[in-house]
């Protein structure tokens, strides 16, 4: 798993790494679901689409994860198959398009209220792209 839980007094925090930006987004989503203990039904499969624009990659990531939290709470859906594209504008990520495939949530251990920007900075490291992210729980 290209993510690990970090110690945080009140909330949940993850370090995530991936070879490229798209996989960083996908692995952060998987890490978030893992923290929440999401278990999916096998069928029926569902498909949702999502697009967002934002001034930077971090904001796109927060938008993407916030969308997943919304589906979790409102429709009891989670996703395990992601098709993402990120368009660059002036050298900065500007638009995200996503096709999300998943199913109803069978069980869930914990609720995530929100994704935060706290110390959120996508960095290039030897492992590719890396972030630390804090979730409000």
């Amino acid at each position: 798993m290209p993510f690990e839980e970090l110690s945080h007094t009140a909330d949940w925090s993850l370090r995530v790494w991936a070879a490229d930006l798209i996989h960083l987004f996908v692995e952060t989503a998987r890490g978030m679901y893992s923290l929440a203990g999401v278990k999916l039904a096998e069928k029926p499969r569902v498909r949702r689409t999502f697009s967002a624009s934002a001034p930077d990659a971090e904001s796109l990531l927060v938008s993407f994860l916030s969308e997943l939290i919304y589906y979790t709470e409102q429709d009891h859906l989670a996703f395990d198959d992601f098709e993402l594209s990120i368009d660059l504008e002036d050298g900065q990520p500007g638009c995200l398009s996503a096709v999300l495939r998943g199913a109803s949530i069978l069980s869930l251990d914990k609720a995530i209220k929100a994704v935060t920007y706290h110390n959120l900075q996508i960095q290039q490291t030897a492992r590719g792209y890396e972030i630390e992210i804090v979730f409000d729980v």
Binding site: T9, A10, S63, Y117
Partner: protein
């Protein structure tokens, strides 16, 4: 990393990080803590976060932090910051995602001995009538126009619809309604999340708890608050649910560009803010107040559900089984208040995140019966430990923006608690001590274990010794319902 030697000791209970500590600070950080609690506080990044909070444009005076403080995101939990109104900023992250998270206390004349045989069935009914868990539906469902009326009226909506009494409203902070709520500034998505969650607890550290008033420290004030030694009381802890989370999410996103527009530089993007007199600031204030009013209604409907459980358990078996509201307080909120600064009365926006308003005697806005005593300050302990009812003081008005602590405060990370503690073991331990537990998630229960929190008695002892609150009564838990 902030070290003990970076702090100036003001007294045994008060410390300061001077404004000179970092160049971008706009005021000092005042810490209410003992040396022992301070050593725990220095174990995480909460003081760095308090220093970051002191960079908010338009900051007035000191950022104040309470002894239950701990690391949050952006702004520390247990922090209070005041910004000049209306030119200073409002920061959604300094209020938090759970807008108007707070605590309500209901008192009764039911004596412990009479209640004990029925405690188990009472806990089961509370669990049934106060829905908890992730994304769970509440007991009241509304359509969008009705939700908008609710967000404007707050607790008055609950009164009109049979969930509240006039006494409940009089004994709710701001009478259960923030003026200036603007549902038009609440996104469609936030409204969708709010339609079916009214009267639900949610998850995390939210709870409904039955307590016994174990000790009365100030009999005269306890009598005014309606608290009787040896009798049952109920605490309700929750907030604005998904609606509030979405409002904060929306505006923290929007304000990422607002700070660029207004040339505001901050050390942490979670602290993003906008001037209160800007269109962005006005929009957030309108939406935040709407979410706050939703939270007042949510706790009011939960109180109605608790009363239903008490009625089914005790009516016909005991006389005087009714629950009377002591007070309802907010601990995640931004409010425009008037405070004395340098011997002048000044309007400021007080951001409280994990801090309780603690207005002292004679402060405008308190119910007439609390004008002599100061407002009740409700400090729930960790699950299985004592909770406290305090009263606000004149000193809190002068030293802490009329604020005090909001709980015990976490000291152990959630990851460590999950690793070290088993939820079912904890449940057995609590049951062995006579505390009935109803919990939706065993891992969630483990994360909220008493050992993950500071000693609430030490926290309360600190705010009392510092003079920003005084003790009224101590509560001991009998039954806990958690999400």
């Amino acid at each position: 990393m902030i070290r003990l030697q970076d702090l100036t000791r003001i007294s045994d209970y008060e410390w300061e990080i001077p404004q000179s500590f970092r160049r971008d600070m706009r005021g000092p950080v005042r810490i209410f803590s003992t040396r022992e609690l301070l050593e725990q506080i220095l174990g995480d990044k909460s003081l760095e976060q308090a220093v970051n909070a002191s960079t908010l444009p338009g900051l007035v005076g000191a950022v104040v932090v309470m002894p239950d403080m701990h690391q949050g995101y952006g702004f520390p939990i247990g922090g209070v910051a005041a910004t000049q109104f209306p030119r200073g900023v409002v920061s959604p992250g300094a209020i938090g995602y759970d807008i108007n998270c707070g605590v309500r206390l209901l008192a009764s004349s039911i004596e412990l001995e009479a209640a004990l045989p029925r405690l188990d069935s009472l806990a089961t009914l509370l669990n049934q009538y106060c829905p908890s868990g992730v994304g769970v539906k509440g007991v009241v469902h509304v359509n969008v126009p009705e939700l908008e009326r609710l967000m404007r009226a707050g607790s008055r909506w609950a009164l009109k619809n049979g969930y509240a009494s006039e006494n409940d409203i009089a004994r709710t902070e701001e009478n259960g309604c923030l003026e200036g709520a603007d549902p038009a500034k609440v996104s469609e998505r936030a409204k969708a999340r709010g339609l079916e969650q009214i009267g639900s607890m949610g998850a995390g550290n939210h709870f409904v708890e039955v307590d016994v008033v174990e000790a009365v420290l100030d009999p005269a004030t306890a009598a005014v608050f309606g608290l009787r030694q040896g009798c049952l009381a109920v605490q309700i802890h929750c907030g604005s649910r998904g609606l509030g989370h979405q409002v904060c999410t929306d505006y923290v996103q929007d304000f990422q560009s607002a700070v660029r527009r207004y040339g505001i530089e901050l050390p942490d993007r979670e602290l993003v803010c906008a001037p209160m007199d800007s269109p962005e600031g006005q929009a957030y204030l309108g939406a935040m107040r709407a979410a706050a009013n939703y939270a007042f209604v949510n706790r009011q409907v939960l109180a109605h559900s608790a009363r239903r459980a008490f009625e089914e358990t005790f009516a016909g078996k005991l006389k005087n089984w009714q629950l009377t509201q002591v007070y309802d307080i907010c601990h995640n909120m931004g409010k425009v208040e008037t405070h004395e600064v340098n011997e002048k009365r000044l309007k400021v926006c007080v951001h409280r995140k994990g801090a309780t308003r603690a207005f002292g005697p004679g402060t405008p806005g308190l119910p007439p019966e609390y004008q002599q005593t100061g407002q009740p300050v409700l400090v729930p302990g960790s699950m299985g430990t004592a909770s406290w009812v305090l009263a606000g003081t004149e000193t809190s008005m002068l030293r802490s923006w009329g604020s005090s602590c909001h709980g015990a405060g976490r000291t152990m990370s959630r990851a460590k608690a999950k690793h070290d503690i088993r939820g079912d073991d904890l449940r057995r331990e609590l049951e062995g001590r006579g505390i009935k537990v109803r919990a939706g998630s065993m891992s969630g229960l483990a994360e909220e274990a008493p050992s993950a929190y500071k000693d609430v008695d030490a926290v309360v002892g600190t705010v009392v010794a510092a003079g920003i609150a005084r003790k009224v009564a101590r509560l001991r838990p009998l039954a806990v319902v958690k999400g």
